[in-house]
Symmetry: D3
Subunit: 224 residues, 6 copies
């Protein structure tokens, strides 16, 4: 049985997702009942998706993951923390085209604008009051105030965010239709890359002066 370890610092908030995230789009169909992922560590050879272990030694444990009821530490810059169960930490999801995450928010906490390049997202409010939104290709914002029991769907690849607008902690459960939906947190993927993007290009793109860009890069390189 596996247990999640709640992240302890803001630097890890994004890292938690980033480590899990290599992938995009509705997954290919399975070609067998299941194909529990393994790493082929010896050869450093990979495939689209994952290698799998011998199906004759699979057990119920391979299809189970524990700990999504444990609150995560939100004592960080965003007032937000999340854990994604994708094929990277829940091997039984391999070939099955689905994943799930838990997100915790302090009052005022923000899940910053991001996209999932390989999956639609379905948000279920477990606790708290949220403002959630996504932006379509015409830059129209589709926003909604959400209460417990509300469900909100976000199309694949579109930028979206949630804010805890209530006075108490908030919890979301979030499903994806991919074993590895990926996570692109916009601020980090623009200002916190390794190596940094040329500040001139960002200055022109965001209509900022170069020094303002460099300040943002300094901030996000430290959180990356």
């Amino acid at each position: 049985m596996q247990f999640l370890i709640a992240m302890k610092s803001v630097n890890f908030v994004i890292l938690a997702f980033a480590l899990m995230a290599l992938a995009s789009a509705y997954d290919p169909s399975p070609l067998q009942d299941y194909c529990v992922a393994v790493n082929d560590t010896k050869s450093a050879i990979f495939v689209n998706g994952r290698f799998c272990k011998d199906p004759s030694v699979a057990t119920g444990d391979d299809f189970t993951f524990s700990g999504l009821n444990i609150p995560l530490d939100t004592n960080n810059l965003f007032g937000f923390n999340a854990t994604l169960l994708s094929v990277d930490n829940f091997p039984g999801l391999n070939t099955l085209g689905i994943a799930i995450a838990r997100a915790d928010f302090a009052p005022g906490g923000v899940n910053p604008p991001h996209t999932h390049p390989r999956g639609t997202e379905l948000v279920l409010v477990q606790k708290g009051t949220f403002y959630a939104g996504f932006v379509d290709s015409n830059n129209t914002l589709f926003g909604k105030i959400l209460h417990p029991g509300d469900v909100f769907v976000i199309p694949i690849g579109l930028i979206h965010f949630q804010v805890n607008i209530g006075k108490t902690d908030g919890v979301l459960y979030v499903s994806f239709n991919s074993q590895n939906p990926g996570l692109i947190t916009i601020a980090n993927s623009i200002f916190g890359t390794n190596p940094p993007i040329d500040p001139y290009a960002l200055a022109r793109a965001f209509q900022l002066d170069v020094n303002a860009v460099k300040q943002l890069q300094a901030k996000f390189s430290s959180t990356n």
Copy 2:
């Protein structure tokens, strides 16, 4: 804003799913940001999936559904009740390849063996203690006792079930990687069809005598 109405009698338990269920397999990709479903009621003409409304009149409400926090009445033969949000009652899911359900269980309640012909299922235990299992193509049962915060994944098309083995009510949230995963409840799809399957065939298939089959058909035709 839409609200779910909790089902009141055992007959409706299955019906709730059945009305929503026409479909199968990982869905085709979307060809636009979103395509909120409408019914083309005048012409009685359909397509694979659903017709959509003009995207220029979509709003945040189209992507929101409320009420999954409301317990369902489990005072029925199975001690079980469920509500599925699929494209049939949540039009914003159209082309987005995802769906979600809430399932309530009385102590000892049973979600009877069933399959989803068009989607993988991911179970999240919200409350209670469950025994859950699925059966693979070799008739191997993969079973697991589940506690709150546990997640259990069920491959597309395989027979599975859950039993509330705790002493209190139980609640599951269940995600699917299809806008319309479908539901085939085995007992009803064998013994409760309209018209009935030839009892002789079922007697031979299940190694029962014909009268035993007819009794089962009588029971399930009344719940269908």
Copy 3:
């Protein structure tokens, strides 16, 4: 050249399918002309689908299988026997998204209710008179009496069956749009699992008493 060996006892009827069956849904597209399956037996490592042999050593034999004209022994409890050519015994099918089976029926023989989790089925009557049917998600039975030269299509994942209602032996040829459609025989997948499903859960689900369930489990565990 390979030859099929006709199954000799009832226990093997289901086994023949079960051994071949790990899989579901319309298969992903090929990424090369062909990819003839091999087992990577040394490492016990698998992929979605199958590893393939060096294409430069493929021959016409890899794409050929012989023996579907040989009648199978139907002297068993069901009066039915079948052989499925899937990627498991016909390696040339790998990545090609298709499979075929031959089914033999004694007079009165029954192919018991089952599903294929990963493929649509197309039945062609070669010999005999049959009653065939499938059940949709609304528990509507779509049945049809079939004669030689008739074709009947069964959507992916739905429960279906055939009965030889003629006075002579009958033969069906059955195509699937998957290299590994899978087979879930309902009675075995409910009453014949290893380990058995909790009889209490089945009793409640099928509205039988627990002893009746245990008797069914005893029968199907012996045929499994």
Copy 4:
């Protein structure tokens, strides 16, 4: 119930396929149990695939087609005739990703080189002795002599043919993993197009003189 009408002249051999053929590649998954095709004749508006009739009025007849046991007239230039059941004449196949054909051969009859742009083909020899082959992207011919009960698989999009090399009539049953696999008969698609391809281009491509090309165009335009 529907009956096939055997084609009577060589001109119709190709026409039989051509009328049925608009399409390519493994089909998208269904989004409901079934979606029986209809033509929306009034509006001359089409979709990818087909519009469907109201599922509540579907019957077993929609999923059935009769007459594949009827031999076709092979008294033509090729000694060959075929009937394909695709979504165009068997509406129940819509969204189900499968099709089937019957092919009849006189002794020495030839199913001329062709491709199916949207489906893998699986050939089952019902009667007779055949030489069948396909050509891969390296121009390697994979050929095989086939006897009754033999199965031969042809990857999507590759050129293939069959010749009845026996002394009697021959019959093949051929399955496809597409509701509309399409048919490109090479000779007709090169020399029999409407309007004709520029003879100069064909002469250079086939290293023939222009008059030889024009003679071929005259022959095939009359059979088209």
Copy 5:
């Protein structure tokens, strides 16, 4: 025959893409040879993808688009302009899963960071010297200086950009594996939405003060 009109002002740069962009991921396969898009303007009813015109009236013109050799006006804030041929302005692409764009750059011109939610991009340098890059889910920047004849591939859904680092105008031809890849320009999709995203949420997400966010929103709302 259709001609492109070069865009004349900076406001139109993004608009040109935005108007064309509703969609995401590798497209579903076609179910017929072609399906030339039409708008069903009367009913305001849509489908996943597009309705199509009667295939019997299609001509070569439907599959042709002219004008990609015409330079676009880059006299705007970004020194950049682009035209995308997607299914929205080139109806023959419908169901065919491909699109193409031309992008013009003044010296120092910047194609600002953006994603395509539904397609991989392949850049071909026609003229000029560029710095191009994309950022993966680990925030690693994959950058490259590109010269004429160089090709650079950008995985689906990842943030990417190009800068003309040469002293002359530059031209790129860009292919996509979707009929409607979509375009999410990050700056506009964050700071230029309609209605605006709550400045507080953006301030926390980008670690800016609220006034700095409001200034950015003012700039981008005017270019949107």
Copy 6:
């Protein structure tokens, strides 16, 4: 950095494509950001698509290919030469579903009739005047005279060709929505196979006498 070597003799024109070509249909979606192809040369074991190298050692070079600006030698029988960048020579394309080619034509040069079994093609005229066409399943020719800046789309699996009808050299850039679209050059795949197709079958199929077929086979076996 990699450079293309222009082919020097007519025999190599087809070979250049043939070596790159194993595969067909819109590719399955990626399951990670990227998966740069490697050959697992030691074991002679393959997968659908390609094995990939460790993503942590990928660099911008893996996603770049140089040399598409270099004219190819067209001094051969067809007055035509082409280079395809597919996953076989541009490993970064693996799982990304896209490819590109450059084609050079002498005046009067002909790209002979061929198909791509696994991809739609989009032609962009860089230089010269062309007649391009494709033939649908009804043997209708869709042809078009193309000038620089014109784009022409060819549905997956259909026979097509281009002729340089101008007085100068011509250049096309051609995109595909597959990492390995494959190439079936009709004349070679009919008359130049190894081993040869039985001349009797070809004579009957093409309504030629056997000696004429043998002459064609002699010509094309020497160019193969």
